[in-house]
């Protein structure tokens, strides 16, 4: 798909269309591997085949639509999106490696604030820590919901 695009070809629509085809293909493969059969009427695979066809149809619609005029999404601040992604990634990593909810959420808070243009790292770090600790105490102690534990959480 690195070939030069035709004039008026809307690349995102094309990509979404191809993604829909890929999804349809996966679903079809999954359905054809199903073992359990129904005695009467439709089995569990029928809905999968239907959705696969539906997705493929929508994919075809996108391929057609890609050659028509499209709205452009306008300017995008990809750096900011990257900061939010980094924040979400840190929370996932924190839970994955057992660092706990408070550390992960504080990082998420700091990086998201950075995405929206804040540069006061220390202040945000403190605020995020207070917020995360507050939420942890409220939910773990008061509502007895179990949030993931780490070294910081064990202090309480």
């Amino acid at each position: 798909m690195t070939t030069p695009t035709a004039r008026g070809l809307h690349r995102p629509t094309l990509v979404i269309g191809l993604a829909l085809f890929a999804l349809a293909f996966i679903t079809w493969r999954d359905a054809s591997a199903m073992q359990i059969r129904a005695t009467y009427g439709m089995g569990a695979d029928a809905a999968s085949y239907f959705v696969a066809l539906f997705l493929a149809l929508m994919g075809a619609g996108h391929l057609v639509a890609a050659f028509r005029w499209q709205d452009d999404p306008g300017p995008t601040d990809w750096k900011a999106v990257g900061w939010v992604a980094l924040g979400l990634g840190s929370l996932i990593a924190a839970l994955w490696f057992g660092a706990g909810f408070i550390i992960g959420s504080t990082l998420l808070f700091v990086f998201t604030a950075r995405a929206f243009g804040r540069r006061a790292w220390l202040a945000d770090l403190a605020l995020g820590l207070i917020l995360a600790t507050g939420i942890f105490l409220l939910f773990n102690k008061l509502l007895t919901l179990s949030l993931p534990m780490g070294p910081v959480e064990r202090l309480f």
Binding site: A44, L55, I92, T112, A113
Partner: protein, 499 residues
């Protein structure tokens, strides 16, 4: 009239001091979260669901009703003062409401929205109490084929008929249906699209999907844009109260908006934006000074806001009596019921009458509380709008992730949340509607099993769907609703910029 007795008993439950406190907390929390920019009622309910996890069903459903109505109310405040409607249903409110605020009439705009919501919700909730038992009597005789027909109508109207582009709406629906396939099939135990991941066997959680699409998707989208547009909340100048003339210009639009909103919300047709647009155009046609529209006409706030709230209460009719969610908010509400192992539908009225009528009664109470608590507190809510954007979205993300991990403590669930966030970002960026995904996820498996039950009962004969007049008519309606936008598109060539 037995429903009246039940309703009175419901008030007995709801007026218990503890339950009144739950309702008040729900209303305040719902308004506080709903008022935050970019957070509509669906997300408000989804974000606050974890708070109600550990309460008893009665109390938390009552709190839930408060959150729902509070979120609706908060959404209109944001639309008027910040011009960032949290959901498509407040787009029209933002049109005139924001113009009024710019001209220093923010107070009356908020007041007419609040009182209009109160009037509309009051009438619509009465409608709910009156029609729900009647519908239950009909619905109890419904066969699976009738449910299948109803769901087809809901699918089509939510995704194709009323959206800006049928292709994008149907694509959203297809993605929702695809997500609904994931997990173990209820009838046969066959795993679908689980790829051997244990977390996927239980299927996709509605709240995870809703929070991912709405909260994370919105945060990513706003982050990608905020450099390029900067909306500041408009300070309320002058009197908050409506003048005598404002009242005179508002009361008819309130009633007309209610009359438009409730029936459309109560039909399994979804789409809260239709009644608001209908009400807006009606008011513009009937206005004494139509030239004021676009410059801050109070009728343009009063009517649509009433229509919006009436249709929101209306969507509770199919939700409670049939178990059919026809909007994203209703889908999240359904998830809320299911967390207490309550399945809305005709049987709920028979098996748990105290609970249902307690809920309906607390809707009335939440509505009154909203009016009493929120009109004087409007200054406080406006201050919430001044939270700096970086902290606001950082806080929203922390809270959104917390809710998901608290409900389902696993890293995989969090990864799914983030994946749905990316999906929501892409959909927002390229203008795909979000509600069909959530509705598809919930209704997809229900339609699947309704269809298969019908076929089991007919020993595999698909004609069963057409032999019953109810389902035959509903399938015909769904087919017409699906084809209508394409036919009209062919007739009206000027809409060539679609898709």
């Amino acid at each position: 009239m037995e429903s009246l007795t039940f309703l009175m008993q419901g008030f007995g439950t709801a007026l218990d001091p503890m339950n009144l406190a739950f309702a008040a907390i729900g209303v305040l929390l719902g308004t506080a979260v709903g008022v935050l920019p970019g957070i509509g009622p669906a997300l408000t309910v989804a974000l606050l669901l974890p708070i109600t996890f550990k309460l008893d069903p009665g109390g938390s459903l009552i709190m839930f009703a408060g959150i729902y109505y509070g979120g609706m109310y908060g959404g209109s405040t944001t639309a008027i003062l910040l011009n960032t409607p949290g959901e498509s249903a407040s787009v029209v409110t933002a049109l005139e409401g924001n113009q009024m605020a710019r001209r220093g009439r923010g107070g009356p705009a908020l007041a007419t929205a609040a009182i209009g919501s109160f009037v509309a919700t009051l009438i619509a909730t009465m409608g709910l109490a009156f029609f729900a038992p009647l519908l239950v009597k009909v619905a109890i005789q419904f066969g699976p084929w009738d449910y299948f027909g109803l769901m087809l109508i809901a699918f089509v109207t939510v995704s194709a008929t009323f959206g800006s582009s049928p292709l994008r709406g149907l694509t959203s629906l297809a993605i929702g249906l695809w997500l609904g396939l994931i997990g173990i099939d209820q009838l046969t135990g066959q795993a679908r699209l689980a790829f051997g991941v244990p977390n996927l066997l239980d299927g996709v959680e509605v709240t995870t999907l809703a929070v991912g699409l709405f909260a994370i998707g919105e945060a990513l989208h706003v982050a990608s844009r905020h450099l390029f547009n900067d909306e500041k909340p408009i300070a309320i100048k002058g009197s908050i109260w409506m003048s005598r003339q404002d009242w005179k210009r508002s009361w008819k639009p309130w009633l007309r908006g209610t009359a438009i909103g409730f029936p459309i919300g109560a039909l399994p047709a979804g789409g809260a934006e239709i009644p608001t647009f209908l009400s807006y155009t009606t008011e513009r046609k009937l206005a004494e000074k139509p030239e004021e529209f676009g410059q801050g006409a109070i009728e343009g706030v009063a009517g649509p806001e009433a229509a919006n709230n009436a249709s929101a209460a209306g969507t509770l009719v199919p939700l409670l009596t049939l178990g059919l969610p026809t909007s994203a908010t209703a889908a999240v509400m359904l998830a809320g019921f299911q967390q207490y192992n309550l399945q809305p539908g005709p049987l709920l009225f028979v098996q748990h009458p105290a609970l249902v009528w307690g809920l309906v009664a607390s809707l009335f109470i939440a509505n009154v509380m909203l009016l009493v608590l929120n009109l004087p507190l409007v200054g406080l809510w406006v201050r919430l709008l001044k939270i700096p954007l970086p902290w606001l979205y950082a806080g929203i993300l922390v809270f959104a992730c917390m809710g998901t991990i608290a409900a389902n403590p696993s890293v995989v669930e969090l990864m799914m949340l983030v994946a749905f966030g990316v999906l929501g970002f892409i959909m927002r960026r390229y203008d795909y509607p979000i509600a069909p995904v959530v509705v598809g996820l919930i209704l997809g498996p229900m339609a699947d099993s309704a269809l298969r039950r019908s076929l089991q009962m007919s020993l595999g004969d698909p004609m069963v769907l057409l032999q019953h007049p109810g389902s035959a008519i509903m399938i015909a309606i769904a087919a017409v609703a699906l084809l209508a936008p394409f036919v009209f598109k062919g007739l009206a060539r000027f809409r060539h910029d679609e898709d």
